[in-house]
Amino acid sequence: MFETATQGIITGILMGAIYALIALGLSIVFGIMNVTNFAHGDFVMLSMYLSFAVGSALAWDAVATPLITAPLMFLFGIITYYLLIDRTLRQMYVVQLAVTVGLQILMRSAALIIWQAQPRALQYSFIQGNIQIGDFQILTSRLFSAVVSLIFIAGMAYFMNKTWAGRAMRAASDDLGAASLMGVNYHKTYALTFAIGSSITALAGGLVMSFQQTDPVGGIRFGLLSWAVLALAGLGSLPGLIVAGIIVGVVESLTVSFFDPRSRLLGVYAIFILVLWLRPRGLFGRR
């Protein structure tokens, strides 16, 4: 009992760090641009397929594929922004909703046409295997992914606080009109924000591909998990995002250990609803 719980918590913490990374992409787009990208999970799905394509074509390890997929997803983000998102900003909210949900369906269908329905996976990564600590096992691939995720989130905090582009993004988030009076061109700042959000999914996709397969509808799970993490964390706090990611990861993992693997997201949704009900601005949010 105690062993199972501890093992579940360890696995959950590691997965949670990756969930925090995935949610970071959603969080900056929502927090800075006030755009709710319902296709976010499908950006992760596309990234995983790109990882699969790059990894199998070049015989690369999954965790190395973001070197190529991140620039590709950055470009994909810029194109998506100017082609679709930019045009929805001055429209009614329902337009944005329809466009991102439409994008989700488009991406899913395209993945189905290109890669067919059967799941795809890459050869096992160099970081396969376990680390044994006492009675507990840690999957090396998950540990590696968690560490990379946390380092990246810390790097993002540095970027937001210490660079001109990062400060412009925060200023635009606080007051778009005032930011433009400072010389911020919001189209460019928003395009950069969306592209960064999109390339974060490339990094996350590469990491997840080191221990998991992908299929055309696999994005739903990541999208919903991201919303749960974001609702729990609230906007504006990166440490809050990590804690929320870990809570979601641990709850999911314990549900699998003690309840039923098929209902892995049940506990996560329960918290999601509770938080929205009791504390809509999240545990760490500032608004």
Partner: protein, 233 residues
């Protein structure tokens, strides 16, 4: 320096400004006064690009800036301190000031922050604090400071006394007076007519979106219309 001819502007189909014509010369302080809702703020917003003009001519240093976006206008050397200051609440005082240099980061190396701290010493003490923790008066000083960081040739101030505790209003106006002394051209929009006419060289009265009167501050202060409707004398 700034020349506005027959400017029409508003929101959507609603017209607020009708055929507004005025000018600001180099080194002048010009006040625009008028009642609530007359279109004073709309005028500054239109010049700065936040509101899109419908027709007319807006020239700054003999170049047209008509319908440029706000980020392009500020690059010409025309800063706008909006109503209420609109500082970035979740950024520190220092970060807010740095955002003022966004269009020209190199300017931070010219000692501009020290100059602003000399003008507003309170900002130096508060530099690491989030702007949301500042009082109304401090926010207004931060907003003016942030507008000055880019070393604009002309600064437009929109109701700098709004939301400021009465005992601080005098201080804010002293600072604005100091701006004039350091050779800045200022366009001031103010509901507090007494203050505005005391500081400014010239003034325009805007009523129902149109220029109703214009003249030197001395002339306007003695006009019966101004005395009766604006100064309450």
């Amino acid at each position: 320096m700034l020349e506005i001819n027959n400017l029409n502007s508003g929101y959507g189909k609603v017209s607020v400004l009708r055929n507004v014509t005025f000018h600001v010369d180099q080194d002048e302080m010009v006040a625009i006064i008028g009642p609530n809702g007359a279109g004073k703020s709309t005028l500054l917003k239109t010049i700065s690009g936040l509101v899109r003009a419908q027709s007319g001519e807006v020239k700054f240093e003999n170049d047209s800036i008509f319908c440029l976006s706000p980020d392009q206008v500020v690059r010409r050397g025309l800063a706008y301190v909006p109503e209420g200051g609109r500082v970035f609440p979740n950024m520190t005082v220092l970060e807010n000031l740095m955002m003022g240099a966004y269009s020209n980061p190199g300017i931070l190396k010219t000692g501009i922050l020290d100059e602003i701290y000399t003008l507003f010493p309170i900002l130096k003490n508060r530099s690491a604090q989030f702007a949301r923790t500042l009082s109304g008066g401090e926010r207004q000083m931060l907003a003016i400071g942030r507008g000055l960081v880019s070393r604009p040739k002309l600064i437009m101030l929109d109701e700098p006394s709004l939301g400021v505790a009465p005992k601080l209003v005098d201080e804010i106006y002293e600072k604005i007076h100091a701006l004039k002394r350091i050779g800045l051209t200022v366009l001031l929009v103010e509901q507090n007519t007494g203050y505005a006419l005391e500081l400014a060289d010239r003034g325009y009265v805007i009523e129902n979106g149109q220029i109703a009167m214009e003249g030197t501050a001395a002339y306007l202060s003695t006009s019966d219309h101004i005395k009766k409707f604006y100064l309450g004398l």
